[in-house]
Subunit: 385 residues, 2 copies
């Protein structure tokens, strides 16, 4: 196990009816900006619960935050926050709204060009407005981490930031808020959280048994209950397990003392930035090919994954690895998330722009061995055609 | 899954050499009381590292905190803390020192009879001195939770307390500090952390898949690396895995959304309070018999435990449960912790005093079904003769 520091002070309120707990979490004299997305929370009763919980406070609302939240949109929210002297932000929605809220929290207090926050990946953030989340789509883990990913639509740049200052003070996770998710969003969330685990698990062994088994536990849970949530959208137990798994998948816990990969995410971000693919779709496209190309470097963990997650114990090592990759692809496809570039109308001509963006955004090669160069990314994407 | 609130803001510094991080954690102008136990930390170099990290601060030291820390001893530490106007406590040792430090943190600021803190189980604590831990014996999880267990020697009462105010600000976990542990302490720590998981796992199913698999991951890790640590005391990886498992076993995480039992601990505390048995020994004695007596109530989880932790899949259900209980007992014995009252020189005449203390300390019956009455405890102990 590698040495590490772990600190995660976000308070989680989990379960049916927990949105009411916001009234204990947001100061009674706060000026609150509530941020949300396309408006589903206005229809499914979530916003009503939020407004009730915030009663008595000065509340402002900012809607229309997109999937892959746009820098341009968020600047307007930051402007509103400043103009109204807001002192608390509340994200109501999925990971995109949470990510956007984090950026607004930092941008509202940032002197200078806010794009620099993303260029510097958040390292230059020294303060942010306090924020909380009501999460309605289990996927990004944003509700209990320091990360956000923001897209500048005008230049097709999608970049991550990370700052302790944007860690949510609290998050409310009510599985019932996910009952009305469209199947595509449910599926995307399942694939995204599954991939978050794999980015921290499918690297190389360092003897970290607890972290490995926690990761495997999350993978098994998502594999089991992902299809259940698609088939039975109001199955509380399945929704609850997926929601808690998504949070645990990316709250720094399973990252403790182990290497991380994240090449699939970085390559995927460029596909979204350039071609507008759903985030989960990009992961489902890139991962199987990345595992194929990097099978030697990931051999030990691929064999462990094959055995412990899929129960594959027969055949020689190469066959077991092939089977694990095939099972992974089949899971994504079974969730309705296609795994080939061609499925999204893209061919080989789409690849050079991706490698060019990677070259711009990541001066050092990606992956746990820092060996996923732009050329390697091109090889991976070619295999994913 | 049941609803829950989770919040654990303790910062963890894990790994070789991390004791130096104390210098970042304890304010430079702090007046620090360092608490320790029997003195092993003076011999194995741990205290030297602590003193170096605290250089420049006013440091006071208080040694001699016992296993199952004594209320009487801790009052002297609280007196010293008040007299020297100490404003930070640092525990250097195992769970007993950490528990004792928590009590001192509360008692130093408590007006009134400090025994009331334990009578009230910590509910009446409204403030405490800030504290940190350097943990040198993975076992209690005290380094990342709100709990402490204190023994009043004069009356043979051993009682738990729980307060958010005594949650450590930070804890340092350096696996190398455990290399010099005597085998008995290593074994006790292994049994204790294993039991912490079982208290939160072997109850009844509530469909909480993540928590179940996290618990099983901890159990498997402890089962594997417990014997390794006994056989190879300086095996860093085994020590590291046991250390992280012990912290994760009792930092509220696997308790999220599931019922807890804790009857084994409560009965065990009385055995320690009355007869001075090691804490782990009392758990090893009580648990196999408790599982036998409560096998109907715990049936679903016992079968899951048999399959997922011990790989027991053949035989009828009763046989699988019997095998799981036998394997559990055999694990404790293999660690050198005996599992019968007779092994510790106790016979049936020891039991009535235990049930009498339980009656005094716990007005409501114990266990996840609140059905472990003093009479049931007597039945369990009789089976454990």
């Amino acid at each position: 196990m590698q040495s590490f520091t772990y600190w995660n002070p976000t308070r989680i309120h989990f379960g049916k009816g927990q949105i009411a707990r916001i009234s204990d979490e947001v100061p009674a004299d706060a000026r609150v900006l509530v941020l949300y997305g396309g408006g589903s929370v206005l229809k499914n009763g979530v916003m009503d619960q939020v407004r009730t919980a915030l009663a008595g406070r000065a509340v402002f609302e900012f809607g229309g935050i997109e999937a892959n939240p746009h820098f341009e949109t968020l600047l307007n929210a930051a402007k509103l926050a400043r103009a109204e002297k807001v002192d608390f932000l509340l994200s109501v929605g999925g990971g995109s709204v949470a990510d956007g809220t984090k950026f607004v929290a930092a941008a509202a207090l940032y002197d200078g060009d806010p794009w620099d926050i993303l260029v510097e990946r958040g390292r230059n953030v020294t303060a942010a407005l306090p924020l909380g989340c009501v999460i309605t789509l289990p996927a990004t883990g944003s509700e209990m981490n320091r990360n956000a990913v923001i897209t500048r639509a005008s230049t097709q740049d999608k970049l991550p930031m990370n700052s302790v200052h944007v860690l949510p003070r609290f998050s409310v996770l009510d599985p019932e808020t996910t009952f009305s998710l469209p199947p595509r969003q449910t599926a995307n969330g399942v694939v995204d959280s599954f991939m978050h685990v794999l980015e921290q698990y499918l690297t190389y062994p360092v003897g970290a048994k607890v972290q490995d088994r926690f990761a495997e536990g999350l993978l098994l849970t998502i594999l089991e209950d992902g299809p259940v949530a698609l088939a039975e959208p109001t199955n509380y137990q399945a929704r609850a397990n997926l929601m808690w798994a998504a949070t645990m998948a990316l709250n720094d816990l399973i990252a403790c003392g182990v290497p991380g990969d994240w090449a699939t995410h970085r390559i995927g971000h460029e596909l979204t930035g350039l071609y507008g693919l759903d985030h989960a779709a990009t992961l489902a496209i890139v991962l199987p090919s990345l595992l194929t190309v990097k099978r030697a470097q990931k051999r030990g963990k691929l064999l462990q994954y094959a055995e412990r997650v899929f129960g594959i114990t027969t055949g020689d090592e190469e066959a077991r690895i092939d089977a694990a990759i095939a099972r992974t692809r089949a899971f994504f496809e079974a969730m309705g998330v296609r795994t080939r570039l061609a499925d999204y109308g893209l061919d080989a001509t789409a690849i050079p722009a991706v490698t060019e963006k990677l070259r711009q955004h990541w001066p050092v090669p990606l992956g746990e061995h820092r060996d996923v160069t732009p050329e390697a990314a091109a090889e991976i994407l070619t295999l994913a055609l």
